[in-house]
Symmetry: C2
Subunit: 262 residues, 2 copies
């Protein structure tokens, strides 16, 4: 079976052009087929500010009304996505920038309102892995902005972590998939105050212990829940690492590797 690496890169790397360039260089050096899913960074908030729109975040998620969706579509789907694609082209990666609407790759439904109305935010309904696989067959490297669409043709703001894991899970039909979350820490930390306390391997049992002890950082919980769900759905390996250690982590020489108990 072909190997495929799905990499999610977070906002703070995108906000730092030198860090982004280092990251893209490492990404371009990964062997085998690859897919990049990027977040948005602070640029969307900055541009929303300048346009006189107020940004409201609830538990790290952006409340998205129509004007904010337009900003997100512009910034994630346009500015950030195309800058990454153009840089990858110079690194000999034939990148193709996509939202979920492009090629009908990632269909979503508007998140139902429960306690909080997140607005125009998507929950992923279906990944068209056949279409994505077809891009990979042609040596194209998909670069996804975290935007999906509905059957009614509405664009939706979508969490990039969730989008990466949904794509990774569906691509299991065609490949042996590794999912890598790159962010600003060296991995999952046993002690949130010590950047070098990286947990090398994390199983559901160890994760539950850290959650109970409160040592796993609050923002990490949705990321890890997503990651274990991906493993449960056939993804071979999930790695959480610093953006600067992607190349090393891909060889299991850095970061935290998640696995299910045997």
């Amino acid at each position: 079976m072909n190997t495929l690496t799905v990499v999610k890169i977070g906002g703070n790397v995108i906000d730092d052009s030198a860090a982004l360039h280092r990251f893209l260089t490492a990404f371009s050096s990964l062997s085998g087929a690859k897919i990049l899913v990027h977040g948005g960074g602070k640029i969307a908030t900055q541009i929303a500010d300048k346009l006189g729109l107020q940004t409201t975040m609830v538990e790290g998620r952006r409340i998205t009304d129509k004007p904010m969706l337009d900003v997100v579509t512009m910034v994630y789907g346009g500015l950030v996505n195309k800058q990454i694609v153009a840089q990858l082209q110079t690194l000999d990666i034939n990148a193709i920038g996509l939202t979920g609407a492009d090629g009908g790759t990632v269909l979503a439904i508007k998140r139902p309102v429960k306690d909080i109305d997140y607005g125009l935010v998507g929950d992923i309904d279906e990944v068209n892995s056949g279409q994505i696989q077809f891009f990979l067959h042609q040596d194209l490297t998909p670069v996804f902005a975290p935007i999906t669409y509905t059957e009614a043709g509405e664009l939706l703001n979508t969490n990039a972590d969730t989008m990466a894991s949904a794509i990774a899970v569906d691509m299991v039909k065609h490949n042996e998939v590794t999912l890598v979350y790159c962010f600003e820490k060296k991995g999952v930390l046993a002690d949130p105050t010590d950047d070098n306390s990286v947990i090398g391997e994390l199983t559901p049992t160890v994760y539950a212990e850290h959650k109970a002890a409160g040592t796993v950082n609050k923002g990490m919980i949705p990321k890890l829940d997503n990651a274990f769900k991906a493993l449960g759905n056939g993804v071979a390996k999930v790695i959480i690492c610093h953006a600067d250690e992607l190349a090393l982590a891909a060889q299991q020489g850095a970061g935290t590797t998640l696995r299910l108990e045997k």
Copy 2:
């Protein structure tokens, strides 16, 4: 040989959501393979204004410094492109939004400075028609934003008319190509003050006469020069028509058809 229709849609249709929807419905009904190239409309200027950037146009072309390029990349490559793609998906067209950087489809060089420094504006160097043809083979419909890239990974603002004609010309390798320019007039007018004075057929000789007489509108001249150049380079037919008459014009029942003298 397969037939291919390359359609350029201008900014004022994009600015009018009802007109855009009518146009996309007609576009989706065209038989055979198709490609859409869209302009930007006034949204880029409006957003630039709100961001405190001044827009300078010289002969209908936007002077593009780096902040303006970012706006153009956001608005054309993000907002406008993805809204069109999502709408086409609801019309059963598997659209894929592209800039020239995506899939390395349209490479450009920064326009050399002569009398005017247009800034980060691209002159098209090479169209990768093999890549575009490969999308068509998979029943994908490319939707191009008027942005290209350089070998150094720089994005460039590019005239949409020129982009449409360059793509049409290169696609001649694989298809019998019709190029259609949709805009707000019913065609090329013999009398600029009479919207119904559409010239049904325009040859280089007739065009030269109208130019000499000054009846052909100033803004039409680069469009027509581009169009005749495309015919000279193997495009089978060029049609200039109102956006609302695309379906009719494709059957040669409306608009102006350009042909070379026999």
